[in-house]
Amino acid sequence: MIIRGSFKAALLNWIPAVATTIALIIAWEVLVEVLDVKRWLLPPPSVIGAEIYGSFGFLLRHTQTTLVEILIGFAVSVGLAGLLASGIVWSRTVERTIYPLIITSQTVPIITLAPLLIIWVGTDIMSKVIVIVLFTFFPIVINLVSGLRYVDQEMVDMFRTLGASPWQIFRKLMIPSALPSFFAGLKVAAVVSVIGAVIGEWFGSSAGLGWLMKVAGGQFQTAKVFAAIVLLSILAMALFAAVVAMEKWSLRKYPPTANRVIRLGES
């Protein structure tokens, strides 16, 4: 049974991670002071905190730019991945044509494509969206294909004996069964989408957290670079949490056939 709204239980879950993070921050602060590390080389957490506090509005504007790029890229990615995965599952010819291309596309270092994209589509939002799509569509497609494909054969036969058309089997059986895999891919995509945005901005932009890191780094404003990193991490975690929330909601509506969480070691 799922215990809902149990705040205490949720808090207990988070204690190990939060405690470790706090311990690391304290160690960092102390070590920087004790070893007298130069501020421009490695600022202590207190200075980074002050930087975030001091230029919060400025940082927020750039976070917003990056977030918009990510959301558009993510939406395009999900749509593209859905089309590709459906095509692959639907037809062997499509699979043979497209699948190798998808895999090959991932062997090309995307970071080398970024400068080309700037030349081709310019420095506006489009180039960033394309880089994000290149980073995120792969984990979504791969997971979606395996989710759609590994449907219980007996379930498929049951649908067929009830007179289902291939389209009905796809819509009413395969899509709901593929949801857990789809969200597994989406979680990976949420995290790498932030990397995609930073790389896209690095090579040609006039705003965003990636741009900010590049500019501040060039001027040895190390605290500002760290401030951008902190905000990027928060952004990635927020995106991840949003996907997890969607996953929870959707799996409550469409529970998977095997819905027990197995933890080896706690048998």
């Binding site: 036969d157 049951m158 067929r160 004996t161 009830l162 289902a164």
Partner: protein, 272 residues
């Protein structure tokens, strides 16, 4: 059994494909990876008749049901269900309840039950009305809005049966419907199944490895052998007027039927 379907039945031995049979299987053979699973299987079931197939595991009982329902294609022979002759015609027009309940975990009892009607494009309200009409006799009236995980194994099987019979096809196939249930639940459901099907005019084929279940439910028990799967004998079941479960299972006739079936099964066990 329109004249049109008879014409497409080219090459069928008329004596086997008796005209008043709802379901007729003639000289059916099936291979899997070069191994003969079924060889020359003949079977015909008339309206309102209940036939049970018993045999050791691996004798191809379930394969035969998959062939009749159209999930698999025959290698040789012909199958006719009502007026549906070709495999693509039969699939979707033969009711088939598999061994597992195969309920969709994201659908309620009501929406699981009406899946077949929904796939045929029936209107939602009409499907709903049909489910409601039968839910009472299936003992599901109070749980229509429950989710599958809230139900007992016996209830889940009843939902699966309701889903199979709602499209109202003339032929109903049951593949060990109570195989996974405990003895008490099974016995209750066997009695219930007899009552539910009593008034129907369906041709029913039950696959089971439980000889007593076969005798209790069927009008005819066909005994199968393995490697390759064949029907080697038939025992007609008739208890006259006795009706109650207990009366039947403890009667001397029951023991005689059981003995005959076990003898048929034993012959193949000893054979090399």
């Amino acid at each position: 059994m329109s004249s049109a379907s008879q014409q497409t039945n080219t090459g069928i031995d008329e004596s086997v494909d008796s005209k008043n049979a709802l379901l007729s299987v003639s000289s059916v053979g099936f291979d899997y990876e070069n191994a003969a699973i079924l060889e020359n299987v003949n079977l015909s079931v008339t309206k309102g008749e209940f036939v049970a197939l018993v045999g050791p595991s691996g004798c191809g009982k379930s394969t035969l049901l998959n062939l009749i329902s159209g999930v698999l294609s025959v290698r040789t022979g012909h199958i006719r269900s009502g007026e549906h002759v070709s495999r693509t015609d039969r699939i979707g027009n033969v009711s088939y309840m598999q061994q597992k309940d195969l309920l969709l975990p994201w659908r309620s009892v009501a929406t699981n039950s009406q899946l077949g009607l929904e796939l045929r494009g029936g209107s939602r309200s009409e499907s709903n009305a049909q489910v409601r009409k039968l839910a009472e006799s299936f003992g599901l009236a109070d749980v229509l809005n429950s989710m599958p995980w809230q139900l007992s194994g016996g209830m889940r099987q009843r939902v699966a049966l309701l889903r199979a019979v709602l499209p109202d096809n003339p032929v109903l196939l049951l593949d060990e419907p109570f195989g996974a249930l405990d003895a008490i639940t099974r016995s209750t459901l066997q009695q219930w199944l007899l009552n539910v099907l009593d008034t129907s005019n369906k041709a029913v084929v039950l696959v089971t490895h439980d000889v007593e279940e076969a005798i209790l439910l069927a009008d005819r028990v066909l005994v199968m052998t393995a490697n390759p799967g064949q029907i080697i004998g038939e025992v007609k079941i008739d208890f006259g007027d006795s009706s109650s479960d207990a009366e039947v299972t403890t009667s001397p006739e029951f023991m005689i039927f059981k003995r005959r079936i076990l003898d048929l099964l034993r012959v193949q066990e000893i054979a090399p």
